[in-house]
Amino acid sequence: MKTIRIDPITRLEGHGKIEIFLADDGGVQDCHFQIPELRGFERFVVGRPVEELPRIMTRICGVCPASHHMASAKAVDGCFGGEVAPLAHKLRDMYYHAHYIHSHIAHFYALAAPDFVLGPDADPAIRNILGVIAKVGLEIGGQVIQARAMAQKIQQLLGGRFTHLVWCLPGGVSKGLKKIELEKIKPMVMELSKFADFSLKLFRDIVLGNPQYVDLILNGPYTLDVHSMGLVDENNASNFYDGQVRVVDFEGKEICKYQPHEYADFVAEHVESWSYLKFPYLKKRGWKGFTEGIDSSLYCATPLARLNVSDRMATPRAQAAFEEMFQTVGGKPCRALLANHWARLVEMVHNVEMLERYCADPEITGDQFRVIPKKITGEGVGIVEAMRGTLTHHYTCDKNGICTSANLIVGTTNNNAPIQMVTKKVAQALIKPGKDPDQGILNMIEMAFRAFDPCYSCATHSLPGQMPLEVLAYKNGALHWQLRRGI
């Protein structure tokens, strides 16, 4: 047997390694996506005042700190009886939409666009955002940076900081939105609205306008017959901050729908000896291995999954973009994982529409943004949609409010099994007997999991780091060939 090792992976949060096991005839026999890092955050927080956890949790990772802050805040709300000022929910949701915009811009333009603007087999030296800007022009590059900065600024005006928030408190938030701050936000939202439309148009022109890319998305090996998970509101419309978790199978039938506090009845985690990261699955179906099919217990929790579980979008322009997307990809649900990049842009339209809605809300600058908790009830579960998937925080505390346990199921962890499976599928499709893979093929393997925008810095609770790429191929225990990138 020959082993190909892609270690570490580029343009991915955290440090990952892919090992591809080749049979003697050169075909792919198996594939492991490994995260060689350690956990420990849940233990770190035990013994601390539970109201401090939203502030500590943002330090898990600099990539989606607001997601952890929000999920943590909601779990802490629960520990203190669950009453939250209605205005605080609005402000938190408003902040979160701005956070989504910032994150989706970064992923789409810096991580996904190089594969489509420059091509999957472009020279790795130029397959990055500098290459993208060189091709599409400096003006667009300037718009990307400016839009990203505006999304950050909106967060700062709302929560005091654009990262590592200390804003949410049990029962609400520590500051409201002043009218003068709102007036600063409004023109930025108008610009972001134009930018979201522009990004969708860019996707249509560059990706949908290229029949090869459309074929790759719809007919390539980047599909999986597993189910979808995401938060929805009472109308089954997509929601990122609040609601119930809905799971829909890949034929569109609802499997289950649960309240955050019921999560342990519906989701369980499987352990494999070769991975530090667990493999969540639908508990009532039981662990059935890394298998596709209508009876599978595996699911994706991604932007595309969120749209798959939603009957509709809560805002009109996003609804139009949602309909266009599913019409183009052949219906809903969609199993083509590369459509995640499109789904992010549909979500971005929704994000700006929600910001517009909040800007027009006469109550948004009110001063009733916190209810002071009067009791400690001892347990809370907070679920939000992190950009990378459904994020669950579950805490318990004693009668003095000291944390006694914490459990986190983070976005990327939900997708661990599907990432393993699609990586193997793509490797099997592209690595053929008798032909060693080149950089283009390796990048196309990376594209499989890049669609998930995985972030292992919190999945394993370890440090992120973009690293060079090294591929080692072994045959019968000896180094057969190697490829290096950025070393």
């Binding site: 343009r11 991915l12 949060e13 955290g14 890092e37 350690l38 420990g40 955050f41 233990r43 770190f44 500590i56 330090r59 600099g62 990539v63 994150s103 970064a106 992923h107 810096a110 991580l111 990055n128 955002i129 500098l130 800007i133 400096l138 590059g141 300037g142 940076i145 990203r148 900065a149 950050q152 654009f162 990262t163 590592h164 972030c455 810095s457 609770h461 370890s462 440090l463 992120p464 780091g465 973009q466 690293m467």
Partner: protein
């Protein structure tokens, strides 16, 4: 606007990854004499986010951690961005690494420090995978002399700038 920025990079609760933050915090009061200096002693940002912070400055001093493999914890390196090696925190994996972000900013016409004016102090560390408010013993024990050594060099850099 002041012209020089000093950043302490890292994660304050990730064991040795806090070294940049600890050092910058230690220097903060002692560097008050330099009127042209801004200090952000707890900077846990990377990539494009750093551009927002650096915009407008002519000179940058970064204090960060590094794991070059097998080196003694507390050993430190000094280099400028024209010889940039990736430290643990100057990487940002969600968008672009520091060098790429800088290059992008320059192409877009932002006023950013030139590579030769970006001074990086990178301290070798042992453990950046364990959540802890305390650094490893080897680094804690070495902190005081290490801080004085780097402070001497940082002060010299700042005085040079003012001449």
């Amino acid at each position: 606007m002041k012209r020089i920025l000093l950043l302490g990079m890292g994660n304050p609760i990730l064991c040795d990854d806090a070294i940049g933050i600890r050092l910058a915090g230690y220097f903060k009061d002692r560097l008050q004499q330099f009127a042209d200096l801004d200090i952000i002693d707890d900077c846990s940002l990377g990539g494009f986010n750093l551009l927002d912070i650096l915009k407008g400055y002519s000179r940058l001093i970064v204090i960060d951690s590094i794991r070059s493999g097998g080196a003694e914890p507390g050993l430190w390196h000094y280099f400028t961005a024209d010889r940039l090696r990736e430290t643990m925190n100057l990487n940002c994996v969600h968008d672009a690494n520091f060098a790429t972000a800088l290059e992008l900013g320059r192409r877009l016409g932002m006023h950013l420090p030139a590579d030769r004016d970006i001074h990086i102090f990178a301290v070798e560390i042992l453990d950046n995978r364990t959540f802890s408010e305390r650094m490893s013993d080897s680094l804690e024990n070495r902190f005081q002399p290490l801080a004085e050594e780097i402070f001497t060099h940082v002060s010299r850099l700042l005085k040079t700038h003012h001449q």
